[in-house]
Amino acid sequence: MPLHAALRATGDGIGCHYRLRAEIGLGIEPLATLGLVKPIRQRIPTCTEHACPLRDGCRFARIFAEGLAGRSGKKYRLAPLGEGVLRDPAIARQIDAATRELPLARRIFAVLRDAGAPLTIFALNAALLDQSLAALATDGDPGESGFGRGELAGLLTLLGALGALAYDGYQVALPSAGQNETTAQAAD
């Protein structure tokens, strides 16, 4: 499961957003929103300091090595809840449910329900973008309807792995009823 793999992808207890992205297709955002990790914003370690296996070929390593802007919040430590997910299946199930309730996840489900058919990643992203634009025009700010493609990419991966969506990297669809049960049993 991507979530478990993501929580295990640490060195000396330190994980990195860019490693998650490269290895699992997730970013730090959903993990932080779910309370599974604590982003590090001060005394941010370099990649060497936590022996990241990707440090030699990663083009973002320089950001941490040279202390450049944009590194804050990109590295993290596991939160107690994150450790709990790795330890206790019941906690993992609760987190699975919480993932489906994330604001962006709810918006994705709503768009798919309105479409009544599978959507390509292009069409899904465009529908979500239209919502952001509409909120900007009305309220002066995208607000909750704002999102980044990275956030969307990670969440699609998570929801797909949870069986909450049928996602093959190109098309996104609401799952059939049977598919939902099968995936839930697999998680147990």
């Binding site: 957003h17 860019y18 992205r21 297709g25 970013g27 390509t120 990643i121 292009f122 069409a123 992203n125 465009a126 973008l129 952001s132 634009l133 900007l136 025009a137 002066g140 700010d141 995208p142 980044g148 493609r149 990275g150 969307l152 990419a153 190109y170 098309q171």
Partner: protein, 1147 residues
């Protein structure tokens, strides 16, 4: 300095004779001479020259001494630049192998008595090479930092477009300038405060719409910022200033307000656009400039600080330069002001009080202080020296050493009190790129000995093209001088760049700024639609104050329609002239130099000599120092959703592109009709799919950039992608502004058009704070759309566009690469990730049209070819006409995929093209294409009323025979008439035009009249000469006016037909003469490929076989071999029954 009378009747001999009669007293002059260095009489501190008049008449010897000294003078001028600058110029000429001869505009000289009792002529002040024009803005750069002018003007250093995404503060100045300009027009027209205020706001809104893409770079996150507020805050200030100024033009008919007019002083080598000039017409047709205003809204190069207040005042040198232009044209001594608009403050500074003038002690009030001349001449002459490269040539050690001379470039002389006191490093591109060792900024550590450390291969490459681009640069800079000093008869009759004796008609209704000019005499010219032109009253020289710029919109046999930038100037005789305005752009040099800089930065090595093997891989491939990765032999299985049916070649090309590793190159050749644009669209879809979620955290990294050589090609790719893949439209950005010809489906992909910015601004009350908030929200919406965009499409010239600023792309495709010069194509590399770690795809066809390169008079011959360039596939005399695509296709045939299946031409036409140009490899991609005949098209589309009959009568043209050649070899009436221009020639052949007109009329009269429009869309006529195309229209119109008037009926040159196709194509070869001359256009057989391959089912060629096959000029022999092969193939096809040859003699 007193301005001389505009048209002196004294000869140069008389002028200098009068000078010699006043020994010991320096005299003011305004005299151009040709000065050749006299080495025999030159010594250290003394330069001897042999002077001659423009017509070659000798004028004797003259001298220049250090410090502007002359025998008998009581004091010299410390740090005078004149001698050292001119000496360095002559040195530069000699080192580059050119004669030590320059034009000088003499401004002051003295006849001095020597200690031996003789009299010598001593030159004290002059402009070096006044034919080489600099703008006022460029003078300010030199004033601020001559070294900056060297790096940006000569070397071609530009800001890194992948890093420079700074806030567009210049948009404030643009908006204020535009608002001020239109408010002044309204005020001058008698408008009250309300009307003037409205005009101001409307102009600000229009400018914001124009600058929308730039405003996105600011990335506003909430409330309006200074960027948005300042133009509005300036309104009241400007209105107050206008209300306090003199009355409008309606109160004074002889007074005109001229704003941002291009004007030019041939004797000063300076051009510019003064923001506001008040001009008064004189009784004798002359006129004077009463006031001149230069408006500034911020700092910039050349801003000088007031020594007492410390406030920086820009614009002083520009205003001084423009004033001098006016004076040199004999248009008076205007009161000159610099207006600085800053939010709610405005100051109007008389030029005499400007810190530049005060610091230089260049008081203007006494009729022209000598120091004012020195201030301008120093900037102009040093600017000439550093920007032409005469100072260093291409000696890389000298180029490196120049930075060590300091920003003032010690050695060229110059009084530092005539240069800016503070450095402009913060805004200098050379400083930002870390190339200037004298830079006083900590933003980047400069690299010492940059050029010395370059690998020889890279430096030789840069020099090879830089020299050629410098020739184009020089021609562009000298073009205005040429226009102003060459008789109109020569410009029109021999060069075809001007049209004189035109009367203005009433402006076209609905287009207030478009004026149609007409005359009784037939117009024959090289001017064409969309050319930038100058409209000038006859009797005035182009650029002499009253000229107005415009764009040529329509050109007929006796009329010219021009869309003017400003109102039409009055003309005493009611007659005007239209001149081609040279367009100069330095973007190709910047792209070439950016390749140099990017390759070095990408190596990650500095401080020592580099080897070519240390450069990024893609740079090595371009330099011929590394082979591209081998291609797979077979077409891969492409598992890409929603992909169209592709043929094997297309699958192979797309598969190879997707498999390309970062830093690699792929060449895709797309012969006519092979679906190249469709392939690019499919590839774009595949890349967008693959990379949609790649690098999602790096908003500066996008999947795909497509650059094309022309707007037409960029629009076509945009249209194809948008039509084929509607779900990609939200992620597709067409870079640039909408043009008149932009189609709706392409327009929708332009950011400002998608958001209906102009309409929105028209509905926003900018007086209301809520309105300004709405505007900022619209900008934020643009930012949001831009952030999600995945595919950007533009022209090569737009590589520095704001939509692309700060972005890199994983894959860059260049379309029409065969038509782009190599420096132009290098623009594509500017947006690859650092180290050129991206994928470069060049799509084109070197068997079709080559790059269009202007013929440059007096172009320097290329030096011997270095071995490194020979290894890279260069040939001796390898000029800009050889595209990057052609060179790399020949150098790396293994990296080239050719699309061989074409879907346009039926089998016989395809076979002709395939055999002549593609070694027999091109073939129809489907049986339906191969077997298509004219009857299929006509009977399907025009079944009613058209009785199609297949005839076998000899001479029948409109039957199903795919190819018909009408041979005029024996037709005595079919001879061409040639119009020789200096740069090229124009021909027509009335008999051929008559034959084609008869054929077309016969075809169309078989179809119901109401269907002519749709049929015309499938018929095309091509000839190499616009003169012949005009003749064709005349002949058709004489037979059937309604037919000639059909806009869908295309009659055009090959170059303008590129990319089009027609069911029926008629080609007029035109050239028919006893000398067997086929002309420069036909001498490139690739034009024949493009011409013939436009036809789908019916190709009719009319021409003189004998002229095209008989040996003639040696330079045409290679092309004639192709034509001989063409006619031999036609003979074979006649035997096969798919072609017919008909002799026109006696018909």
């Amino acid at each position: 300095m007193t301005a001389p009378t505009a048209a002196s009747t004294e000869t140069p001999v008389e002028i200098l004779g009068a000078l010699r009669a006043t020994v010991g007293t320096p005299q003011r002059l305004d005299l151009p001479v040709i000065a050749t260095r006299d080495a025999e009489w030159s010594t250290r501190g003394r330069l001897a020259l042999q002077l001659a008049a423009e017509d070659g008449q000798p004028l004797g010897r003259a001298y220049i001494f250090n410090g502007a000294w002359y025998p008998g003078c009581d004091r010299s001028v410390p740090f005078s630049h004149y001698l050292p600058a001119l000496e360095r110029a002559y040195e530069g000429l000699e080192q580059s192998g050119r004669p030590a001869r320059l034009r000088l505009q003499l401004l002051q000289a003295v006849a001095a008595e020597t200690s031996k009792g003789g009299t010598i002529l001593v030159l004290l002040k002059f402009i070096i090479a006044p034919e080489w024009t600099m703008t006022g803005g460029q003078l300010e750069i030199v004033y601020g930092c001559p070294l900056a002018s060297f790096y940006t003007g000569f070397v071609g250093v530009d800001r890194d477009p992948t890093r420079d995404a700074t806030a567009p503060t210049f948009t404030v100045g643009n908006a204020i300038h535009a608002g001020y300009r239109h408010a002044a027009i309204a005020h001058d027209g008698g408008g009250g405060e309300d009307a003037t205020g409205r005009a101001y706001l409307d102009a600000v809104a229009r400018t914001w719409a124009d600058d929308f893409a730039h405003l996105l770079l600011d990335r506003p996150t909430g409330r309006p910022k200074a960027l948005h507020k300042r133009p509005l805050a300036a309104r009241e200030t400007i209105l107050a200033r206008l209300q306090g100024s003199a009355g409008g033009a309606d109160t004074d008919a002889d007074r005109a307000l001229l704003q941002e007019r291009l004007f030019f002083a041939p004797g000063r080598g300076i051009s510019g656009r003064a923001d506001r000039i008040v001009y008064r017409e004189g009784p004798d047709g002359g006129g004077t400039v009463e006031t001149l205003h230069e408006i500034k809204t911020g700092g910039g190069f050349g801003a000088e600080k007031d020594p007492l207040t410390g406030i920086a005042h820009p614009g002083g040198l520009q205003a001084l330069a423009y004033r001098e232009i006016v004076r040199s044209l004999g248009a008076g001594d205007p009161d000159t002001f610099i207006e600085v608009i800053a939010d709610d403050l405005a100051s109007e500074l008389p030029l005499d009080d400007h810190p530049i003038v005060r610091r230089a002690r260049a008081r203007l009030a006494d009729g022209g202080n000598s120091r004012a001349v020195d201030l301008l001449a120093q900037a102009r002459n040093i600017g000439f020296l550093v920007t032409t490269g005469l100072l260093t040539g291409y000696d890389r050690y000298r180029i490196d050493t120049i930075a060590g001379l300091g920003r003032r470039v010690r050695g060229v002389g110059g009084d530092w009190s005539l240069q800016a006191s503070s450095t402009p490093c913060q805004i200098c591109a050379a400083s930002a790129r870390g190339i200037c060792e004298s830079a006083r900024t900590t933003s980047r550590t400069p690299t010492a000995n940059f050029f010395r450390h370059l690998p020889q291969e890279l430096y030789a490459y840069w020099v090879w093209f830089h020299r050629q681009l410098q020739d184009e640069e020089r021609a562009g800079r000298e073009a205005l001088y040429h226009l102003a000093t060459t008789p109109l008869a020569t410009l029109e009759g021999q060069e075809g760049v001007s049209i004189g004796d035109l009367a203005a008609r009433v402006p076209d209704p609905g287009r207030a700024h478009t004026v149609t000019f007409e005359r009784a005499a037939r117009i024959e010219t090289r001017l064409r639609e969309d050319d930038r032109v100058l409209v000038t009253p006859v009797g005035r020289a182009p650029g002499e104050l009253l000229s107005v710029e415009g764009t040529l919109r329509r050109l007929d046999v006796r009329t010219v329609a021009v869309e003017l930038r400003d109102s039409l100037p009055p003309s005493a005789g009611g007659r005007y002239r239209v001149d081609l305005l040279p367009f100069r752009s330095s973007w190709q040099t910047q792209g070439l130099t950016d390749f140099l800089l990017g390759a070095i930065r990408g190596s990650g090595i500095g401080g020592r000599q580099l080897g070519a093997e240390e450069l990024p891989r893609l740079a090595r491939i371009i330099l011929g120092a590394a082979e591209p990765a081998p291609l797979a032999d077979d077409a891969p299985d492409l598992d890409i959703p929603d992909m169209s049916d592709l043929n094997a070649d297309q699958r192979r090309a797309i598969g190879a592109a997707l498999a390309l590793a970062p830093g690699e190159l792929l060449l895709i050749q797309g012969p006519p009709g092979t679906g190249k644009t469709s392939m690019i669209a499919e590839l774009a879809r595949a890349i967008a799919h693959r990379d949609f979620f790649a690098d999602p955290d790096d908003t500066t990294r996008r999947p795909l950039l497509i650059l094309a050589n022309t707007h037409r090609a960029a629009d076509e790719v945009t249209r194809k992608i948008a039509a084929r893949f509607p779900d990609l439209r939200p992620y597709l950005v067409r870079v640039g502004s909408a043009r008149a010809a932009t189609e709706p489906e392409v327009r929708e992909q332009i950011l400002g058009e998608r958001l209906r910015v102009r309409e929105a601004l028209a509905g926003i009350d900018l007086d209301d704070p809520a309105g300004l908030e709405r505007w900022v929200r619209l900008i934020r919406a643009g930012v949001l759309i831009h952030d999600h965009a995945q595919i950007f499409i533009g022209t090569l010239a737009a590589a520095n566009a704001p939509e692309l600023r700060g972005l890199t792309f994983g894959t860059i495709i260049v379309d029409e690469t065969g038509q782009a010069t190599e420096p132009a194509a290098l623009q594509a590399l500017r947006h690859l990730p650092p180290g050129y770690a991206g994928r470069l795809l060049l799509v084109g066809d070197h068997q079709q049209l080559p790059p269009v390169v202007p013929e440059i008079a007096d172009a320097l011959p290329l030096p011997p070819l270095p071995d490194s360039l020979a290894r890279a596939g260069f040939a001796p005399a390898h000029g800009l006409k050889i595209s990057l695509f052609e060179r790399l296709a020949r150098r790396y045939p293994g990296a080239l995929i050719t699309l061989a299946a074409q879907y346009r031409m039926n089998a016989p036409i395809s076979a002709l093209i395939s055999d002549l140009f593609y070694d027999g490899a091109l073939h129809p991609g489907a049986a339906s294409v191969a077997n298509a005949r004219l009857s299929d098209f006509l009977s399907t589309n025009y079944p009613e009323g058209y009785k199609y009959e297949v005839r076998s009568t000899p001479g029948e043209v409109w039957d199903d025979t795919p190819i018909v050649f009408l041979d005029t070899s024996l037709d005595a009436e079919a001879r061409d008439t040639v119009r020789q221009w200096r740069a090229d020639e124009s021909r027509d052949n009335p008999r051929e035009a008559a034959i084609i007109a008869d054929l077309l009329v016969a075809l169309f009269r078989r179809v119901p009249h109401e269907r002519w429009g749709s049929l015309a869309a499938e018929v095309g006529v091509i000839s190499a000469y616009r003169k012949q195309n005009n003749r064709l229209r005349t002949e058709i119109g004489a037979r059937e006016p309604a037919l000639a008037a059909l806009p869908a009926l295309r009659i055009d040159t090959v170059d303008r037909f590129q990319g089009g196709e027609r069911q029926i194509l008629l080609v007029s070869l035109v050239n028919s003469n006893d000398a067997g001359t086929i002309g420069a256009l036909h001498a490139d057989p690739r034009r024949l490929n493009v011409a013939l391959s436009r036809a789908k089912t019916k190709l009719i060629v009319v021409g003189d076989r004998a002229t095209f096959t008989t040996p003639g000029r040696p330079e045409e022999e290679a092309a004639k071999e192709v034509y001989r092969r063409l006619f031999a193939l036609l003979d074979e096809q006649v035997n096969e029954g798919v072609a017919r040859i008909v002799e026109t003699a006696g018909r």
